[in-house]
């Protein structure tokens, strides 16, 4: 299930996202944040991704926001 979700995100990144103008206000983008979060935290990662997506709204200023993985600061996938 985890693998399937992450694969779906990667599919979105590769095929769907590329054909529209970039829109995410964060680095890493919401989709790669979601992929990392779900890979590392499973179901809790889904909740984290939803929260991130809600923060990526017209009134936020975006910025750099990694998934915090255990002790070390996360990498983008």
């Amino acid at each position: 299930m985890k693998k399937f979700t992450v694969a779906a995100i990667h599919f979105y990144q590769k095929w769907i996202s590329t054909s529209f103008a970039p829109r995410c206000k964060y680095y890493p983008s919401c989709s790669s944040y979601a992929a990392t979060a779900i890979e590392n935290y499973g179901f809790k990662g889904v909740a984290m991704s939803v929260w991130r997506l809600m923060r990526c709204n017209p009134w936020s200023h975006g910025g750099v926001d990694y998934v915090v993985i255990k002790e070390k600061v996360g990498t983008i996938s």
């Binding site: 054909s19 829109r23 995410c24 206000k25 809600m54 990526c56 709204n57 200023h61 975006g62 750099v64």
Partner: protein, 301 residues
């Protein structure tokens, strides 16, 4: 799921029936014109409500002109590392409290609206028609029989043998595909910052999708009732118009359309000015915090 969306069914059907009722005295209650225009009206209302968000985005894109020197610096510094480049760029935006990007949430927020609209319109297309929200059974029956250029708005391409319906659905699907195609093509050619060769793969994928989207529309469109196709065509046309306006008037800095506009403006003022030299003053004063500085040479038009 349908319980969560119920309020949206009500909202969507309420808008449709309200427009329909106000158009009925002019075109007739059972007329296809009243029903088709109700769907078109719904699209217009949704898109007009979204305009403030759009304006906000354009404003922050304009504010970006002041940050151009910083951006050039970052691009130069991390020439070979695109990821670092975009990371630093995001930091810069945050520091200056301006972000030219549209953000992800609005798109997702639109999905439930589209889905409930689809359910309401699809209900009209069922045989016998299924009512949703505030629509009465009489309403859906009237809507199902209403005709759009001679074809009942509840009919689908696959569910009919009538030639008129086939022709109308095919034309609508062709229109949908054409608007999507031109919108994307325009964005690719003019609207996006120029890409270097390291982004060739992305460009390739964009090109593939450019031709794949119309195909996806054609495959899914044959299952949709004409009412849904009307909605889809209208919203595509709106997107195209909106993008056309932006590319002409407020293009993304760094894109071919932006350079073209710069040239035009410089030409108008009779000076051939290098677009980069316009905001040199900000270099001397790198501590400006998020002030929306309007570049001086920009003429109000």
């Amino acid at each position: 799921m349908s319980n969560i969306l119920k309020p949206l069914y009500f909202a969507v059907s309420w808008v449709i029936i309200t427009i329909h009722n106000s158009l009925s005295p002019i075109f007739g209650a059972n007329s296809g014109v009243s029903w088709s225009l109700s769907i078109v009206g719904l699209v217009i209302i949704i898109r007009v409500l979204l305009i403030p968000l759009f304006v906000k985005q354009i404003k922050s894109q304009r504010a970006l002109t002041a940050l151009q020197p910083h951006m050039k610096e970052i691009q130069k510094k991390y020439k070979d590392d695109r990821q670092k480049q975009s990371e630093e760029m995001m930091k810069l935006y945050k520091e200056h409290k301006t972000n030219p990007l549209a953000s992800c949430f609005p798109i997702l927020a639109q999905a439930p609206i589209f889905f409930s609209l689809f359910t309401v319109l699809n209900g009209i297309g069922k045989n016998p028609p299924v009512r949703h929200g505030v629509l009465t059974q009489a309403d859906v029956v009237s809507a199902a029989q209403a005709k759009f250029f001679g074809a009942p708005i509840s009919d689908t391409f696959l569910g009919t043998n009538v030639t008129t319906v086939k022709i109308v659905t095919v034309l609508l699907i062709a229109f949908m595909s054409a608007t999507t195609f031109t919108t994307q093509r325009q964005l690719m050619l003019k609207g996006m910052p120029k890409m270097d060769s390291s982004n060739n793969m992305m460009l390739q994928q964009q090109k593939i999708m450019l031709y794949l989207f119309p195909l996806i529309f054609a495959i899914s469109g044959v299952n949709f009732p004409i009412g849904v196709l009307i909605y889809w065509s209208t919203t595509n046309l709106w997107t195209w118009g909106q993008q056309f306006y932006v590319i002409k008037r407020n293009p993304t800095p760094g894109s071919p359309a932006y350079e073209e506009l710069q040239r035009k403006r410089a030409h108008k003022e009779g000076t051939i000015e290098n677009p980069e030299s316009g905001s040199t003053e900000t270099i001397e004063n790198p501590d400006v915090k998020g002030q929306r500085k309007q570049p001086k040479k920009k003429k109000k038009k």
